[in-house]
């Protein structure tokens, strides 16, 4: 009989710990929604003009690009990697796309074909960096860091000095126009969200990415084709970066390298703040939607509150540190690089 008591003591404690942990996880998984609601209420009170139809439209417009970018990164981060290549790559896509549609620098008029070429170029680049990562066994952020720099160079080189202004009327109206009060670009973003949602929850790919992020060793044992899944993640990232480059150029009205600056950081912030763990295997596209909304709302409100735009980045920096610090597993002997 005494034996039974012993068994229960440690076993019970262990079970309790597990329970506590899962309760904490559940709490954290709902926290982003709570934060979003809190921020909306807070800004409605303190920021004049925040709670208005025009600003709602603004928010939707501002949401579009960061959302697509962070949807691309979501799968990368879900499997425990990171990618910084959008910085240069999106600028590159925007630059060459502007040079292929009707523009101020040359006589091209490829229309949609131009966009297609630009997006395919982005996919090619991420595919190559994916292969370097998978076959060369180099960490993704290092590869993407170098790739970003290279692509940024190519972007600047492609237009030499003066960026091309987009003169194609279809695209110039696209940046301003809206349908049912929702900007066109936001439709693209929402469509991408739906696709990403299906990818994560309705395909094998989604489960496999989750498995790789949770524990690559187990995933391998279960029979997941690790390399192929990783490669597909990079293809998806390429699609998103390609679209972001295109949307950025349309929004800006010209194709310049600046499209890519200040893109990756808010996207990583969105993904992480939404509750997707940097170590992988936790979170997903719905979290990213919430995260992107949080980041957009904050940036929007900071402008309304008259805070210097220079401070925005700093605020994001602090948010991301707080979000990571809260969500990451702690332990004094854990190895974090």
């Amino acid at each position: 009989m005494e034996k039974q008591v012993h068994v229960s003591r440690i076993g019970e404690e262990f079970k309790q710990e597990m329970k506590k942990q899962s309760q904490r996880e559940r709490f954290i998984s709902w926290a982003p929604v709570g934060i979003l609601a809190f921020l909306v209420v807070l800004f409605s009170i303190i920021a004049q003009g925040f709670f208005s139809l025009t600003n709602l439209q603004n928010l939707l417009k501002q949401l579009a690009i960061p959302l697509v970018m962070s949807l691309g990164l979501t799968f990368v981060i879900l499997m425990g990697s990171t990618d910084l290549s959008a910085q240069g790559l999106a600028g590159f896509v925007g630059a060459i796309m502007a040079l292929m549609v009707v523009n101020s620098k040359n006589a091209n008029n490829m229309g949609f074909l131009g966009i297609l070429i630009a997006v395919v170029a982005a996919i090619l680049v991420t595919a190559i960096s994916g292969i370097i990562h998978i076959k060369g066994k180099l960490p993704t952020f290092m590869v993407s860091y170098a790739v970003s720099s290279i692509m940024q160079g190519f972007a600047v080189l492609s237009y030499k000095g003066e960026p091309a202004l987009i003169r194609d009327e279809f695209f110039t109206t696209m940046s301003q126009g809206s349908f049912l009060g929702i900007p066109y670009l936001t439709y693209i973003a929402l469509a991408m969200f739906v696709i990403a949602y299906v990818l994560q929850f309705k395909t094998r790919f989604g489960s496999y990415v989750m498995a790789i992020g949770d524990n690559e060793g187990i995933a391998k044992n279960i029979g997941v084709n690790i390399d192929l899944t990783k490669f597909k993640v990079f293809l998806w990232l390429g699609v998103c970066i390609g679209l972001v480059g295109f949307m950025g150029a349309v929004r800006l009205g010209r194709g310049e390298v600046g499209i890519g600056s200040n893109l990756v950081f808010p996207a990583i912030t969105s993904v992480v703040v939404g509750g997707t763990s940097l170590s992988g295997g936790k979170g997903g596209v719905v979290n990213t939607l919430v995260g992107a909304m949080i980041v957009t709302v904050i940036n929007n409100a900071l402008v309304l509150l008259g805070v210097s735009p220079y401070v925005q980045q700093a605020v994001q920096g602090m948010i991301i540190i707080a979000a990571v610090a809260i969500s990451i597993p702690h332990g004094k002997n854990l190895i974090v690089k």
């Binding site: 012993h6 068994v7 003591r9 440690i10 076993g11 404690e13 262990f14 079970k15 309790q16 710990e17 597990m18 329970k19 899962s22 996880e25 559940r26 299906v198 929850f201 309705k202 395909t203 094998r204 489960s207 496999y208 989750m210 498995a211 949770d214 524990n215 187990i218 995933a219 044992n221 279960i222 029979g223 997941v224 295997g281 936790k282 979170g283 997903g284 004094k332 002997n333």
Partner: protein, 509 residues
């Protein structure tokens, strides 16, 4: 009932560098039976199972399944051939649903136009669960919402179903310590499934430290020790005592452990634990370590002994209780603090990842736990470090071409001696040796035992978690037995009255 032969294992041997994990094993597995495997830690049970599911390959020997040669390279392949394993560490993906986990890697039948038919998959998964009488789990729930025992049931359902997919000819399911997180009721439920599976012509191999459970469920029991199968018997009229006796390893002569050199420890208590706890790992541990004493701790995996040592050396934090070093209560934020403030240092278990820095040379490794010993004018001197290393290479007879040799290239025994050289150079006097002879060949082992005696002769105190029970007993002045996180018994082990292994095992299991 006609027993159908499912798998035959002939002459399977597994050689790791420095250790023979499995030695010429012959075993048959029949359909319709529960085969219990018992043995101490390191007796070879898990290695055999790893070979059976293709996670390891045998150095020599053959396996046959249904009369055909069987040599899977991955667990998936094994699964397709009808051998599946429920791992002790769960292999579920936390953020996927129960159904996704059950069918992961086998979704083909649910995929249409590249999309997974989640509804049908959930329904089928629910049927699988129902088939195992698991009614409290919904197949659409994410696994991280389940408690630990439920996860275990999902894990079991997953393996049952995936080998069941190839059922008909008879499959084999391996259960490795499946009951450790289950309640009594769940265990009974599990046993019912096991029996039902067997009546359908499948075989279940059941591995557990809990002898009473093995005796309850198994039809036949194989006993492993030191990499050999020492006995195989039907589960009839057995009692635990007989099994214990068969399980314990051979007792080496006292000479092997230099028992004659065992000294009587002094009275001073250098380290005292008072009601030390780490929630979920061990509880209320009271221990005293005297000056010049070698204290052995034994227990099965999960008894909490490793966690206890991790707490003492500052690697992990306790959740309650006190550590007193020379009468002073101490708390360590890190092993660095434990070393500097309390002179505590450990020889860790996983030498290659924890004990040495393989890319550094021997002399650099040896000075790593005490730079003060090799300083000249306040600056670290490679020259002094080399001189110091030369000294220890001589003293411990480490075989090295030169002290500039990278430690990563040394054999297990020599690398371990480098670790001991570092420990000696550190000047610490409370040492925790976690499996000090793991992966070390026999010759080097007795040299290490001699080093351990030398250390004790210098008036230093040691806590030893032996690689085998015999080693722990042979080396120690006293032996503490841990079970389920508590110290269940303390044995005195004077040179002329070493306790019997069988007596100790009784308190361990």
């Amino acid at each position: 009932m006609e027993r159908k032969l499912l798998m035959t294992i002939r002459g399977v041997t597994k050689q790791y560098p420095g250790t023979l994990a499995l030695n010429n094993i012959d075993m048959d597995v029949y359909g319709g039976e529960v085969l219990g495997l018992i043995g101490e830690n390191g007796a070879g049970k898990s290695t055999l199972m790893k070979i059976m599911i293709g996670a390891e390959t045998a150095t020599s020997g053959t396996l046959e399944m249904h009369g055909k040669p069987y040599a899977p390279h991955t667990p998936i392949e094994a699964m397709k051939l009808g051998v599946g394993m429920v791992f002790q560490e769960q292999s579920l993906i936390m953020n996927l649903t129960v159904a996704q986990n059950i069918y992961i890697g086998r979704e083909e039948q649910y995929v249409k136009h590249a999309l997974v038919d989640t509804r049908r998959m959930n329904e089928d998964a629910q049927k699988v669960l129902q088939g195992l009488e698991i009614t409290n789990i919904k197949s659409g729930t994410r696994v991280n919402r389940l408690d630990f025992a439920d996860r275990q049931m999902v894990e079991i359902a997953k393996v049952f179903d995936s080998v069941g997919a190839s059922e008909g000819e008879g499959s084999i399911i391996l259960l490795d310590e499946p009951t450790s997180v289950l309640s009594e009721k769940e265990i009974q439920q599990l046993f019912r499934h096991v029996r039902r599976l067997c009546t359908r012509g499948n075989a279940v191999i059941f591995v557990s430290h809990k002898l009473d459970e093995v005796m309850e469920i198994a039809d036949r029991i194989c006993v492993f020790k030191d990499g050999c199968k020492v006995d195989e018997m039907p589960n009839e009229n057995l009692d635990e005592g007989i099994l214990y006796e068969k399980m314990v390893g051979k007792t080496a002569s006292g000479e092997y452990y230099h028992v004659a050199r065992q000294r009587v420890p002094e009275q001073d208590v250098v380290l005292e634990l008072r009601k030390l706890c780490k929630r979920g790992y061990f509880a209320d541990v009271d221990l005293q370590l005297h000056k010049g004493e070698i204290l052995g701790i034994c227990g099965v995996v999960g008894s909490g002994k490793e966690d206890l040592c991790a707490v003492i050396c500052g690697d992990e934090d306790p959740t309650g209780g006190e550590i007193l070093v020379r009468g002073q209560s101490q708390r360590f934020a890190s092993p660095s603090q434990a070393r500097k403030a309390a002179s505590i240092l450990s020889v860790p278990r996983e030498r290659r990842v924890e004990g040495i820095i393989g890319e550094l040379s021997a002399y650099e490794n040896i000075c790593m736990s005490n730079f003060d010993g090799v300083r000249q004018n306040g600056v670290i001197s490679d020259k002094l470090a080399k001189v110091q290393a030369e000294k220890y290479v001589q003293e411990l007879s480490i075989k090295l071409p030169s002290v500039n040799q990278r430690v990563g290239r040394l054999s297990g025994g020599n690398a371990q001696k480098v670790v001991f050289a570092r420990i000696l150079a550190s000047g610490c006097d409370i040492l925790i040796l976690d499996h000090p002879t793991r992966g070390v060949d026999v010759g080097a082992k007795t040299e290490i035992y001699s080093i351990i005696r030398d250390i004790a002769d210098q008036g230093k105190s040691l806590i030893v978690l032996g690689d085998t029970l015999d080693e722990t007993i042979g080396l120690s002045n006293r032996v503490a037995v841990m079970k389920d996180g508590e110290i269940t018994k303390m044995f005195d082990a004077p040179p002329d009255g070493k306790p019997e292994q069988v007596d100790i095992v009784k308190y361990m299991m």
